[in-house]
């Protein structure tokens, strides 16, 4: 495992040590390497600042100063804190005690909502549920065709009726779930900007017409500093219950995950790891922490091989 950050920190400490023993100030200075690593990983600037002030005390502690491998010590502390901040454990999708469970997928344009809707339907089906999907993106060219094609692939029915509004389609989805004896209604919504008042209101109205058990914000792992603003705006308007982080099969470090978790408190429930309908996995905070620090996602890679 090529361990960039630890190596960098080792070099920094080595430089300092040449002037004698490592001091608390040296370690504080060394945390600059961590700061840059987090910023390069797209963790929000403010979150980085707050985070570093939290780990500083522990990082400049006697244990690290006396250690023969202070760089490893600091990185371990940083990684452990990151893991805890990201939730510590795996979070599940909650099912209604009184079916059907209603799940909305919302988010910015192109983040992966439609694909994730189908992936989630497939996952639930494999768990013995009877899902149904609602094609409520009536705006983007061929968005309905896309969900229908995916529905065919995974053999899950898709509710759509030309002329109906997204609010009506949500209601139609519920009706159909009763008729067809389905126990999960997954609503794929159109991509929208968090600053688009009209479209944000539409989502609110959909939730009024058909209340949600889960409303998942779908976020692209490549997102930069804006992630926090987007997630906060969606959360302000909607009863968000969690986040799906997509396109983790890329090489983005995915600092957005930490930023969103830290600022909104929303758990990251699932991650998308490919374009195919089975590329959906539970979120693993410890792996994500290593990834954000540029220490690779070794376990996931091994599982893939």
């Amino acid at each position: 495992m090529f361990d960039n950050l630890t190596e960098k920190l080792q070099a920094t400490f080595k430089r300092m040590r040449s002037q004698g023993r490592l001091t608390a100030d040296d370690v504080r200075e060394g945390l600059r390497d961590v700061r840059f690593a987090l910023l390069e990983a797209d963790v929000n600037f403010k979150v980085v600042k707050e985070f570093l002030s939290q780990v500083e005390e522990e990082a400049v502690g006697q244990d690290v100063l006396d250690s023969l491998t202070p760089a490893q010590g600091v990185v371990r502390i940083v990684r452990d804190h990151l893991t805890t901040l990201m939730g510590g454990q795996v979070e599940r999708i909650k099912m209604a005690s009184n079916p059907p469970t209603v799940i909305y997928l919302v988010g910015l344009q192109g983040s992966g909502k439609t694909t994730t809707t189908a992936k989630l339907a497939k996952m639930l089906k494999q768990q013995g549920r009877q899902p149904l999907m609602v094609a409520a993106d009536i705006y983007r060219p061929a968005a309905v065709d896309q969900l229908q094609a995916l529905g065919q692939q995974i053999d899950v029915p898709v509710v759509f009726s030309p002329g109906l509004s997204p609010v009506q389609l949500a209601q139609e989805g519920w009706q159909k779930s009763r008729q067809l004896a389905k126990d999960v209604v997954l609503v794929d919504t159109a991509g929208r900007l968090h600053v688009d008042e009209t479209l944000m209101t539409e989502l609110v109205e959909m939730h009024e017409a058909l209340p949600a058990h889960e409303t998942l914000l779908v976020v692209d792992a490549m997102t930069g500093q804006d992630a926090v603003r987007v997630a906060s705006a969606f959360k302000e308007k909607l009863p968000l219950t969690g986040v799906v982080l997509t396109k983790l099969d890329g090489d983005a470090r995915g600092g957005a995950a930490l930023s969103i978790r830290q600022v909104t408190g929303l758990p990251i429930k699932l991650v998308g790891s490919g374009e195919k309908v089975d590329a959906l996995e539970p979120f693993q905070p410890d792996r994500m922490a290593s990834r954000i620090l540029g220490m690779g996602d070794v376990l996931t890679l091994i599982e893939k091989a």
Partner: protein
Amino acid sequence: MAGIWNRLKEGMSRTRNNLGGRLRALFHGKEWDDNLWEELEEILYEADLGVDTIEYLTAALREAVRTRRPRHADDVMDLLREIMVDLFDVPSDPSLLDPQRPSIWLMVGVNGTGKTTTAGKFAALMKRQGYQVILGAADTFRAAAVEQLQEWGVRSGVEVVRQAPGADSAAVAYDTVQAAIARSKDLAIIDTAGRLHNKTNLMQELQKVVRVIQRERPQAPHQVWLVIDATTGQNGLAQAQVFLEAVKVTGIVLTKLDGTAKGGIALSIKRQLGLPIRFVGVGEKVEDLLPFDADSYVRAILGD
């Protein structure tokens, strides 16, 4: 032009938190003092400019402040704007269409950035300018990608070359070039599937598309547009680098600037790889594609 950029500026300043507003509040009327550095840095980070570029900008600005000794913080902002505009260093009126006809354009990029939408917008834009355009649906992989482009063909009044889903994308690209030649088109725009740059097999598939096009037209593709989403963080640089190496990208289209993301990674891409930003996407409608203008862009993100 000016009106359109005002629209972008409006779009970008829709949030109270926008960069321009904060910089203005930070600088306006204040005597310059060194404490402003940290705050300036923070604002640049939030625009996704990234560590390297921010260090470059602040070093250049410090130097300018040292030599030109501005009294007021407002003047510092003017200096910063100059430095940023200089970085873009766009050739005046770079021509889009190669004299060779048909010109072949290729849309490339990672998943979901706006390739298909931009292909549709390009088709409409070039048609409005009087050119004969044809679209090629070489994304044969993603569900209903062909139907999506087909709909853009209808919107822009442009014919779409397509094959059945699952067909070889290089074969569709070849068909498109053939059709463009046979029907004396000025321009063929070929849409491709989204692909993450770290997937070697998919990047090789894209290289195959290029090779097949070159069988008919060795000089083609005349433009390879890398479409980058303005919300993209530091990964944008790796994307640009790998696509540039694989298929000789000629220009960037920066999409979704109508949100609150500033697309600062585009400045880093320009600075570090020399790839020019040529167009920006500011919405989902056919007319929401604007030629990039460095001065207006920097003004839009820093505020006037």
